[in-house]
């Protein structure tokens, strides 16, 4: 049984066709890299999976079930999403993370502070950054914090939308290296960066282009 299945999915915005009869299967444990020209609407792909956008035609199945509004809360709890536009709102970084971790869905994760410290060291962020206002962070810092936040959730399906666009080459390599070792996880990456192709067994999906 496929984990995520697109069956002849069509999505339009006004008259612009984003996807036309798109079909593919993703199995648990797959690493998939979605490529395609920028501006074609790759972000919409994740928006469809997370239920933030609805299909115009066709079906999306998750764990064998047709995607349905009632299914979404359960689905979202299994997915760790790193959006392209990272907007955490206002406030100190640590306060925001504390709020995220206090959501009922995440309250069972009691060791996140230790994990946070480890991940920040791993991705070369100083502890003092947690005391800064989120809006004061640089693009690269925001991107790494969003990746770390996704990892704190200890989920097994990752949806990463241009996760390394704001990172320099050594940091980008670290991130790719980290995910290539997560053989326990399912990885969906939208990136136009060819470095992601280094991951062994990664499948490339050109989205019908």
């Amino acid at each position: 049984m496929a984990l995520i299945q697109f069956k002849n999915v069509t999505k339009r915005f006004d008259r612009k066709v984003i996807f036309n009869q798109l079909s593919f299967d993703i199995n648990a444990g797959d690493f998939v890299l979605f490529q395609g020209p920028s501006g074609m609407g790759k972000t919409t792909l994740f928006q469809l999976i997370l239920g933030f956008e609805a299909v115009d035609a066709g079906e999306i199945h998750f764990e064998g079930q047709l995607l349905h509004p009632k299914l979404l809360p359960g689905l979202r709890k299994k997915i760790a999403y790193v959006p392209q536009i990272i907007d955490w709102g206002q406030g100190k970084v640590i306060d925001i993370i504390e709020e995220f971790m206090s959501f009922q869905a995440n309250i069972h994760l009691t060791h996140w502070r230790k994990l946070l410290a480890e991940l920040m060291t791993r991705f070369e962020l100083e502890a003092g950054l947690l005391e800064k206002d989120f809006s004061m962070l640089s693009g690269g810092e925001k991107q790494r914090m969003a990746i770390i936040q996704a990892l704190l959730l200890e989920r097994k399906i990752f949806l990463l939308d241009e996760p390394t666009a704001a990172l320099d080459t050594p940091m980008k390599q670290k991130v790719i290296q980290y995910f290539s070792e997560r053989t326990d996880a399912t990885l969906l990456v939208i990136s136009h960066d060819p470095d992601w192709q280094q991951i062994p067994n990664i499948k490339i999906n050109l989205l019908n282009q």
Binding site: Q47, L50, F52, P69, P73, R76, K77, I79, Y81, P83, I85, I86, D87, W88, G89, F100, F103, Q104, A105, N106, Q149, L153
Partner: protein, 250 residues
């Protein structure tokens, strides 16, 4: 001591006073003459109608009629709040109407029964007049809360969606916008409450004192009405926001 009446010559003198704004408008080319005249005209007609209505309401003092008039006022206020926000009337009138109905009836009945202890809770002199004062403020609060909430959450849609993706329930995901919009809707009244009595004499007090009440009595009424208005406002604001979110998808 009885309030002196305003007779024909007095009314003419009141209108003559408008010559000053009109002269200034002409001299300074403000191009406001039409707006000034139209708004004064509307005010005169609306208040005249209200005067006639109230005259009869107080004279007849029928509980059913007073309640009916109250419902009409609540409906008109809901209509106005929706129009100001350019929201869909069909989707929003029920939550807003219900919110104001609950909040304002609670506040006015509390005021009548436990603060001023009138025997007839629905008598026009207290029920209709006091609820009118409370209603206007609740409406202002609702206009701000809905405007702030719906404008900001759609402007920051990605942030809202991100919170949902982290596993937040709808309420958890909306929390920042709920807090922001309620805060914004209450700030004006909190600010005016704090300066009350420093500069201006509040309208209700002025009226009561002109009507012959002692300043101390007028002040006690003023204090009570300020608190009642504030409480009704926060209840209306919270209920209107939550009722409007009821079963609405984002």
């Amino acid at each position: 001591m009885k309030t002196p009446d305003i007779h024909g010559p007095g009314i003419i003198m009141m209108l003559v006073l408008l010559a000053i704004p009109l002269a200034l408008d002409y001299g300074l080319q403000l191009k406001l003459a039409k707006d000034i005249l139209l708004s004064v005209f509307r005010m005169l007609i609306q208040l005249a109608l209200m005067g006639i209505f109230l005259e009869y309401l107080i004279q007849w003092d029928s509980v059913a009629l007073n309640i009916l008039w109250f419902l009409v006022m609540v409906f008109a206020a809901s209509h106005s709040a929706i129009k100001r926000n350019r929201l869909s009337f069909r989707k929003f009138w029920k939550p807003i109407f219900l919110a104001m109905l609950i909040a304002v009836s609670f506040a006015v009945l509390y005021f009548n029964a436990w603060i001023i202890h009138v025997e007839k809770l629905f008598s026009a002199r207290f029920f209709v007049i006091i609820s009118g004062m409370i209603l206007g403020n609740s409406m202002k609060g609702i206009i701000i809360v809905l405007d702030k909430f719906y404008t900001n959450i759609s402007k920051e849609k990605y942030q809202y969606q991100y919170r949902l993706s982290l596993g937040a329930t709808r309420f958890e995901a909306m929390r920042p916008w709920i807090q922001q919009s309620i805060r914004a809707s209450l700030q004006p009244i909190i600010a005016t409450t704090a300066t009350m009595g420093l500069v201006s004499i509040p309208g209700m007090m002025t009226g009561q004192m002109l009507g012959g009440s002692s300043p101390m009595l007028a002040i006690k009424y003023q204090m009570a009405i300020v608190i009642v208005i504030f409480v009704a406002m926060i209840i209306s604001v919270v209920l209107a926001l939550f009722f409007s979110l009821w079963r609405r998808d984002f």
